[in-house]
């Protein structure tokens, strides 16, 4: 009635093979293309044929791309630090203190994280201009709060709720202030959760496109996603695909390494927050 065991096993591993292949092939092919130059680029290769670093050299030598990488690092890092700082106290209140309106507040925060970014774009544009932040990296740090802050609050609240009540009871009875409780009890316990949340928020900020495209106007201020999106040739036939792929590999490789190192944490953070990166 049922298929023989070896057939089942083979089928299963075939499926595993297909899953791995489809996940890895596009990135593999990007690396392959980034190492080709000139004519080799326009011949379809499935296996590495040449090893030519000239695309990487030309991307990194003009200095602008290096600056753009630094821009991205700056924006993502500062955004994460500020959101974590604001989120840790807020999620303490949301997870450990019972007060009226808590459910509604959580619902509001969740719905902000689902805000379509385009819906706030006009208003944010006005604010950014009014503050004189147009074409400044701070415009991104400011506007990225709209997705990193609800996300970090939500995930940290989930993690904090999972901790038993007893750990703070003694401290409360000893008359320790809430701020002391956060600093002395929760921050040390929540380090792993904060690293996870921070990492996920970092990836979100690193990948953001719409605000970066709108609020920055000069090449040297841009972040890498916009830079990569705007690389083009004078005509359709002059698009420097080799350079695009080299740039793509440079900005993606750190993320891939992070994913491999923190895989387990990322999975737990993603499922706790259930927010796309």
């Amino acid at each position: 009635m049922t298929a023989p065991a070896w057939l089942k096993t083979t089928g299963f591993y075939l499926l595993v093979g297909i899953i791995v292949l489809q996940a890895l092939f596009p990135f593999y092919y990007a690396i392959l293309t980034s190492l080709e130059d000139g004519q080799a680029l326009f011949e379809v290769n499935y296996l590495p044929a040449v090893f030519d670093l000239s695309n990487y050299r030309s991307m990194l030598s003009d200095g602008v791309f290096g600056k753009q990488i630094l821009n991205s690092v700056f924006v993502a890092t500062v955004t994460v630090i500020i959101s974590l700082f604001l989120a840790i106290t807020a999620s303490f209140a949301l997870a450990r203190i019972r007060f009226r309106g808590r459910g509604l507040l959580l619902l509001t925060i969740l719905s902000v994280s689902m805000f379509p970014q385009i819906a706030v774009l006009s208003g944010l544009f006005e604010l950014v201009r009014a503050f004189g932040l147009f074409n400044s990296l701070w415009s991104l740090v400011f506007s990225y709060m709209i997705f990193t802050l609800p996300f970090t609050v939500w995930v940290l609240t989930t993690f904090m709720r999972a901790l038993p009540v007893e750990i703070e009871e003694a401290a409360i009875m000893d008359g320790a202030s809430s701020f002391t409780i956060i600093r002395r009890i929760f921050v040390p316990l929540l380090w792993p959760a904060m690293v996870t949340t921070g990492l996920l928020a970092f990836i979100q900020a690193w990948n953001e496109f719409l605000f970066a495209l709108t609020f920055l106007s000069t090449d040297s201020q841009r972040t890498v996603p916009v830079a990569i999106a705007l690389i083009s040739g004078r005509s359709e036939f002059e698009v420097p695909w080799g350079n695009i792929m080299a740039a793509s590999v440079i900005v993606t490789l750190p993320l891939v390494v992070l994913v491999l190192i923190f895989q387990r944490r990322i999975v737990s953070g993603l499922t706790a927050g259930a927010v796309k990166g």
Partner: protein, 329 residues
């Protein structure tokens, strides 16, 4: 005697303790709002106020360089009948713009198809990862990689793979004999949407798979054991036991992905710029805001998009009675 005295003393301290506890709890509630304040102020500044301004701009004649001089003009950005005076007239505004309705349709179609495919593939991948086999951790790491790649990078990577002349996808399909001539995936209107959906599915299926996997891992193991001993065939087991149990997790995953798909911008903007075949609501709105210098009109599109998405969300939360308070657990 001694015992009674100490009893009284104990009651007194207990009463004092209760009073102290309630004072403490009031104090804690006060500090709760103090702790929430900075976060709430920032959220109000980046979300609520800009949203209010966007809605306000949609009722004005604002243009990109003259934001401060915007005047209220009522519903004219949405719908306006212009009478030509000779008994003839024409409807103008967002609601009368066929390009807008095409964008709405494109967005809904994109969300519907991509989320359905992601759910299906996500389910398959989650079921595979739920099994124990050597190298499982590495397979899971590989599955996560598309999720980690920036959307812009995936869009350009795929645009290159789907290139009409030098693309590897055309080469593969031709070798397999599935197509006779190279297909201009991103350029031709018939295939542009397919290309965009393909990239989105590739990029976001891992997210779906992980959420479903988390749901699967919460199903008690003895449930399967009992079914196996009773000789229930695997497919029936899945349909009658697994699927109903993971339904809550599945619904949450679907709503998150759907909300995300309904605001899609990056992939479309980068892969298939300026084509009616794939223009989504977000792309339409941004085009008007910054490229066509119709700031107010673009704001009207943003506003409408917001309400469409809000309506879908509220409907979903109401329909599934999601428990967000987390108190009753």
């Amino acid at each position: 005697m001694m015992g009674a005295a100490s009893d009284i003393a104990a009651t007194e301290t207990a009463a004092a303790r209760v009073a102290k506890a309630s004072r403490l709890s009031r104090q804690r509630i006060r500090s709760a709002w103090l702790f929430l304040a900075p976060m709430l102020i920032v959220l109000a500044a980046v979300a609520l106020y800009p949203l209010y301004r966007t809605i306000w701009f949609s009722f004005t004649d604002a243009s990109l360089d003259l934001l401060g001089e915007a005047r209220f003009i009522g519903w004219r950005n949405y719908l306006e009948y212009v009478d030509y005076g000779n008994g003839d007239g024409e409807w103008f505004g967002l609601l009368a713009d066929p390009r807008w309705w095409r964008s709405v349709w494109n967005t809904v179609w994109f969300a519907l198809v991509s989320v359905s495919l992601e759910t299906l593939f996500g389910l398959v991948i989650a079921l595979v990862l739920h099994k124990k086999f050597p190298g499982r951790v590495w397979v899971q790491a590989a599955v996560l990689i598309p999720w980690a790649i920036p959307t812009i990078v995936s869009a350009r990577m795929w645009a290159w793979m789907l290139h009409d002349q030098f693309g590897i996808v055309n080469d593969m399909l031709q070798r397999l004999g599935l197509i006779d001539a190279p297909v201009a995936w991103t350029a031709s209107p018939e295939t542009a949407m397919i290309a965009v959906i393909m990239v989105d599915v590739w990029k976001t299926t891992p997210f779906m798979a992980l959420l479903i996997l988390a749901g699967l891992q919460m199903v008690p193991k003895d449930m399967y054991e009992a079914a196996r001993l009773d000789g229930v065939p695997p497919f029936r087991l899945f349909r009658k036991v697994t699927l109903p149990l993971i339904m809550p997790a599945l619904l949450v995953a679907i709503v998150f992905r759907a909300l995300d798909a309904l605001r899609v911008f990056d992939i479309v903007y980068v892969m298939t710029p300026n084509t009616d075949a794939t223009r989504t609501m977000s792309v339409y709105a941004r085009e008007n805001l910054f490229d066509f210098d119709r700031f107010a009109y673009g704001s009207a599109a943003s506003t409408l998009l917001f309400f469409i998405i809000a309506l879908i969300t509220i409907g979903f939360i109401y329909a599934t009675r999601m428990n967000l308070e987390g108190d009753e657990r």
